[in-house]
Amino acid sequence: MRRYILRRLFETVPTTVGIVMLTFVLFNVVGGGSAAETVMGKSATAEDLANFDAKNGYDKPLLFGRWAEVRQDADKADAKRAKAGKCRPHEFRTEERGGRTVLLQKNDGPFDTQFFNYVSDLAHGRLGWSEEYQQPVARVLAQGAGPSLSLTLPILVCGTLAGLSLAMACAAFRGGRADAAILVASTVLMSVNYVVWVLGGQFFLAFKARLFPVWGYESAFCLVLPVAIGMLSSLGVDIRFFRAAILDEIHRPYVRTAQAKGLGRLRILVRHVLRNALIPVVTYVSLQIPHLFTGSLLLESFFGIPGLGAVSIRAITSGDMAVVRATVIAGALLYQFVNLASDLLYAVLDPRVKLS
């Protein structure tokens, strides 16, 4: 057991490294140059942009080195900041590169680069400052996780139960009319766009029929409609997966044996088939658990639930890169963590796992 845990722990290292590298490439290598424009907007002055770069470390070399290209007005902004006592003045020099003059700035040492700063920030849990919320990003994320969970956890639990029971009904009447009807219905459910689910649900059920509150996060009742919508929108896919998992088991020899013993259909389905079919189902469901924390993007922003989904949407529409980046990384790392936990749990529950 200890060896298995160690091996599994060791396996998460390359993926975590990959996540760090991938996010670094996306947000610093590709997006670093334009981040200031995205966040500050078109009306920002060159000095503001230089200030933003300095504040977020985008004016450092990417991987390694002492000199990095910075904006032309960076030395002015730097002189101002140094005069105000906010930092010590940097060294600057100019260079001809491909027919144009660029301004280079010297950093504090060969390891004072974007990559190493990024890794060390991550290791220390420093996620940056959110321009949109005027708060540390870590606090924004911590505040959002609870409301997100209160929305997504009921969706997962109710959705899985509903999907499983409908899939069982399909399997019980396989080949019959009920089976065909549920299948057609699930394909239709799958094909309705997610945006339309949210819009239509809010408009017809909350606004027109006045069955539910349109907006808010005051009581549990406010969550009923978003949970129902979230459940319905994923029900189609769920039913089809669960049905396939159950039908995979239903042609096995042990089912024939149970039938030959004269057991009832319901008993075979629940006691024998379902138990074995639960293995892929549990894997499928556990893969969704990490996404519970990051919440549901549209549902939250439409129903005014202050979760991480609403936070991400607001950050994306206002171009708050620090929050977007932090949610992506937090989501990916959580995915790693939950996967590890569920694998270890599997090993405890099912001793065969350790051998393979």
Binding site: R174, G175, D179, V196, R243, V324
Partner: protein
């Protein structure tokens, strides 16, 4: 049991040739309808592309952007009524001036039907372009990983695991945000994240084929790895590419709608997501036709593709049957 086996045999026979598959798809009523629907959407999208190109080449305001102040928020009911009255010759002055708008007009008097056609054009662009990014990437990595095994395979698996652990939609949004608002951002965002599924399927299938006799024979003949992969293995896994395309297409279209709806997708062009975004504000004022027509347009396309994907999977892979009567 025997009937099932016979059916299975028939299906495997069908899987052997592309024409057999087409005949099977055409033979079933519902898939025939889906094929017709997809073909119709293709034609509509091509028409949209032509009108877009022509209006751009001639440097005029395209007809789907033509603003008509006199006829704002005209519902399809009113438009059809005026058209019928004109045909019967009982049209009043107002009816006579009313242009025929089969799906009504929006708040600027623009034709909703024509904008839906442009939406179909953009949806096809997204579906095809993202597939052109994701499928070659997935197939190349999957083939390499499955065929060579060892370190190459570990690298492929590592890459898949890394990308797969990113929070899906959020990662797509982040990529399109970084790549810049617009169609290119959407192509890159969806294309660079959804190749993982393609890669995993192709890799698993290639691994099955790697040790088969025909591959060993090809190796004994001294063929290069490149030739074995391209000429021998790839044709045998090609059906998976078709299935993956039919699965990916509708999901790419839906994702585009989502991204454009949030406002970081297509800019200044009538994509379905933008139309929903515009329409959802006016839904509260009773303008239902805009949202309804876009919803219906998306729904039919996605439904047709979903059903086709199921049918294709049933044809090629009897073991994975998800359709009726399994």
């Amino acid at each position: 049991m025997t009937a099932e086996k016979a059916e299975k045999g028939k299906m495997e026979e069908g899987a052997a040739s592309g024409r057999g598959v087409l005949r099977r798809l055409w033979g079933c009523m519902s898939t025939r309808l889906c094929l017709v629907a997809v073909a119709a959407y293709c034609a509509v999208a091509l028409y949209g592309e032509a009108s877009y190109r022509i209006s751009r080449a001639m440097d005029v305001t395209p007809s789907y952007n033509a603003v008509d102040d006199a006829h704002r928020n005209v519902s399809p009911v009113r438009s059809w009524g005026a058209a019928i009255r004109r045909m019967c010759g009982t049209a009043g002055a107002e009816d006579a001036a009313m242009p025929f708008r089969p799906l009504g007009t929006d708040n600027l008097g623009r034709d909703v039907a024509k904008r839906c056609v442009q939406g179909a054009r953009i949806a096809f662009h997204v579906g095809i372009m993202t597939s052109l990014i994701a499928i070659p990437l997935g197939v190349m990595l999957g083939c390499a990983g499955g065929y060579f095994g060892g370190r190459v395979d570990s690298a492929v698996v590592w890459l898949c695991a890394t990308v797969a652990s990113m929070p899906g939609l959020l990662f797509i949004l982040a990529i399109s945000l970084v790549a810049g608002k617009g169609l290119m951002g959407i192509y890159l965002g969806i294309g660079l994240t959804t190749w993982v599924g393609v890669c995993r399927t192709i890799r698993a299938e290639t691994m099955k084929h790697r040790d088969r006799a025909y591959v060993q024979a090809a190796r004994v003949l001294g063929y290069s790895h490149m030739r074995i992969i391209c000429r021998h293995i790839l044709p045998n896994v090609a059906h998976l590419i078709l299935i993956q395309f039919s699965i990916r297409f509708p999901s790419a279209v839906s994702t585009e709608v989502f991204i454009s709806f949030i406002g970081i997708g297509v800019q200044d062009e009538p994509s379905w997501g933008n139309m929903i975004k515009n329409a959802c504000g006016r839904l509260w004022q009773g303008v239902w036709w805009e949202l309804a027509s876009v919803t219906a347009a998306i729904f039919v396309l996605v439904l047709a593709f979903n059903r086709l994907a199921d049918a294709l999977r049933d044809c090629f892979d009897p073991a994975l049957r998800t359709g009726r009567g399994a």
